[in-house]
Symmetry: C2
Subunit: 361 residues, 2 copies
DNA sequence: GTTATATTCGTTAACGTACACGGAATCTAT
DNA sequence: ATAGATTCCGTGTACGTTAACGAATATAAC
């Protein structure tokens, strides 16, 4: 890291031109002779010049605000998961407010592809500098990436990774890896002799990419780590309904002499403890995802053993910061982030909960 | 958050004075009549003006560099723990380099109080704007805080919290809480029937505050959470020697029919697996602290089950950022931080290791 | 040789804050 | 009454970057 700390003015002196010319070279604008351009470029390389982003944004903050759009599923209520990335986004925008940055929110309906497409079109028309969204619809995501590539607008996808026709930027947890983590945690609690159940609680949209990957990672853990003998490992795919009761399916699987390990592949692990209790199943351990209020309260009373945090607030925060870094420094390194698979238990949950002890996300 | 985004110039216009006068009021310098001062203050309040820190630092970066000193134990080698906070410090300084900030490193000898005191005196003479250090010596830490208070220099302590005569700033993990976390993790693996051993591996300096607090938290977990029946819970305090062998003490405690849960209260949990193996003890589970290379390699091969991360790099990083925020915005909120008790296992260790997948500390 | 048209480059005024400098007004002392 | 001190406040420059403006030179067309 070459912290030379010299400015455009010094470059000008060294290259024996004016700062205007150096500026033209740096922002490769037209109107500079090839010979001088070469000379200036040489000086830039030799000195390891790095532009002062702060001064640059100070100048530009008024006229050239960086406009970011975020398009997420419309939330049913204020406790919705999708408010969390938005919180992080707000927090980053607030931090960068002095640098001239603005954010506009757009929403689509998870059950309606068209609403996503319509919003995308609207956003692309309004000349935003960057877009944050989710890759839930494959076809539409591909269409988006194609258009964005033409317009040279960076797109960052949150929450889920998926293969697309163009390379995309993803800020999300590796769900396969998260499943492996869940595998070890549950295995540690239950041991080789127990019965294991992967519970996919499906909503209107059915099984999502994350569910598949988490289950796959979970199974992979047991394939890798357990002496090949037959671990009893089952899967239940259950639609989410008003009167929700897993037990008929569970009962067949359950050996009362064995411990039961339950891995819930989404945020609805809070549904399990009551069902288990009402059916007098007491030897079960649960690992689930996400720090929603219900999950947290069951974690605190011991009904849920582990929660895995995918840091949704941080995803939004990091997306904005990454975009800012890319647009101001042409550094793309922060546009692709593997969110740590954070393990949360009763004793450390307060660090991860909003307004808890933590300062980070 | 009132993002009015108006500047000192707008304030001046509103108050019908010049920007110079507004500046004098803001930085409460002398030379402004009470009546106008009052008027300006009213405008400031009404508009919710917030100074543009970035522009301010741009102006001051050259002449008024923020000078920070960091005083840590001298490292035996490059892999030493104390290089980690320094890495974080460097990283923060790098991030803030455009804002005019500099760091100077000082070292003391952990076995010699006097070296600490001498370095403190040296630092205080050189007119630093802030100091980062560790509170390992009680008397000397008190002396430091007293002097720093006089000179109005903020001090941030890393790694360990301790009661001192003046209120201090601490960026550290709550070790009691970390012990509780270890308790639950080990209890989950071993269950009520096992034997538990807290191992304090002592070096030249004996038992440290963190060791006490971690053990205390660990014991507290079992008091709170386990149905009062007698959990078998023992403590071994063992000096660190070349030929280190815990087993004589362990053997007395060990029931071959029971699982053994070992909680190592410092970073030396890597010493245990070999000792256990050479004595044919195979039913032991280990929870330790810190992501040093040896611990990580045992974590990866399954000899250690959990490691607790206290994010030493982040501690250094956060200290510098907190000091910067305090000195530029008079916001002390980032000078006291409870580091999350991060749970690390084989499957997620790569997120926490330097040059791993993570972007944060 | 004059005018038009590019091409290349220097000058300068911002962005918001800090602070030195000095001007103007009021007050004190002789 | 006038010099000097004091109080109050406005002006101007600087931080590093950007970009509009225009000056200088070269090339082309008549």
């Amino acid at each position: 890291m070459q912290r030379s700390n010299l400015g455009i003015k010094d470059l000008a002196k060294l290259a024996d031109v004016s700062i205007g010319t150096v500026d033209r070279v740096l922002n490769n604008r037209s109107g500079v002779a090839d010979s001088t351009k070469e000379r200036v470029l040489r000086i830039i390389k030799e000195t390891g010049y790095k532009k002062n982003v702060v001064a640059s944004r100070l100048k530009l903050a008024k006229n050239k605000v960086i406009k970011i759009a975020i398009l997420v599923p419309s939330a049913k209520n204020e406790l919705s998961y999708w408010n969390l990335p938005l919180q992080g986004v707000d927090s980053a925008v607030d931090e960068l407010s002095e640098m001239g940055i603005s954010i506009d929110y757009f929403y689509f309906d998870l059950l309606n592809h068209q609403t996503f497409s319509d919003q995308i079109d609207k956003i692309l028309k309004e000349e935003f500098d960057a877009l944050i969204t989710v890759p839930f619809f494959e076809f539409e995501s591909n269409r988006l990436l194609g258009k964005a590539k033409e317009l040279n607008i960076p797109v960052v996808f949150l929450d889920t990774e998926r293969d697309l026709l163009f390379p995309g930027n993803f800020i999300r947890q590796n769900s396969f890896n998260a499943g492996m983590v869940a595998g070890r945690l549950l295995h540690g609690l239950i041991g080789d002799q127990g019965t294991y159940v992967v519970v996919n609680i499906l909503n209107d949209r059915g099984k999502q990419i994350n569910n598949f990957q988490r289950e796959s990672g979970f199974r992979s853990y047991f394939e890798d780590c357990v002496e090949e003998e037959h671990i009893k490992l089952h899967t239940i795919n259950h639609p989410l309904e008003d009167q929700f009761d897993l037990v008929p399916e569970l009962k067949d699987l359950l050996d009362p002499n064995q411990q039961l390990g339950i891995f819930v592949t989404n945020a609805r692990s809070f549904l399990l403890p009551d069902i288990l209790a009402s059916n007098h199943i007491s030897n079960a351990r649960i690992v689930g995802f996400d720090l929603n209020d219900k999950n947290i309260s069951y974690l605190k009373n011991g009904s849920i053993d582990f929660l895995i945090n995918q840091k949704p607030q941080f995803q939004g925060y990091a997306a904005v910061k990454g975009i800012y870094k890319y647009l101001t420094e042409e550094d793309m390194s922060q546009l692709n982030i593997d969110i740590p698979v954070e393990i949360v238990i009763k004793e450390n949950v307060e660090y991860y909960t909003p307004f808890g002890r933590g300062v980070e996300f």
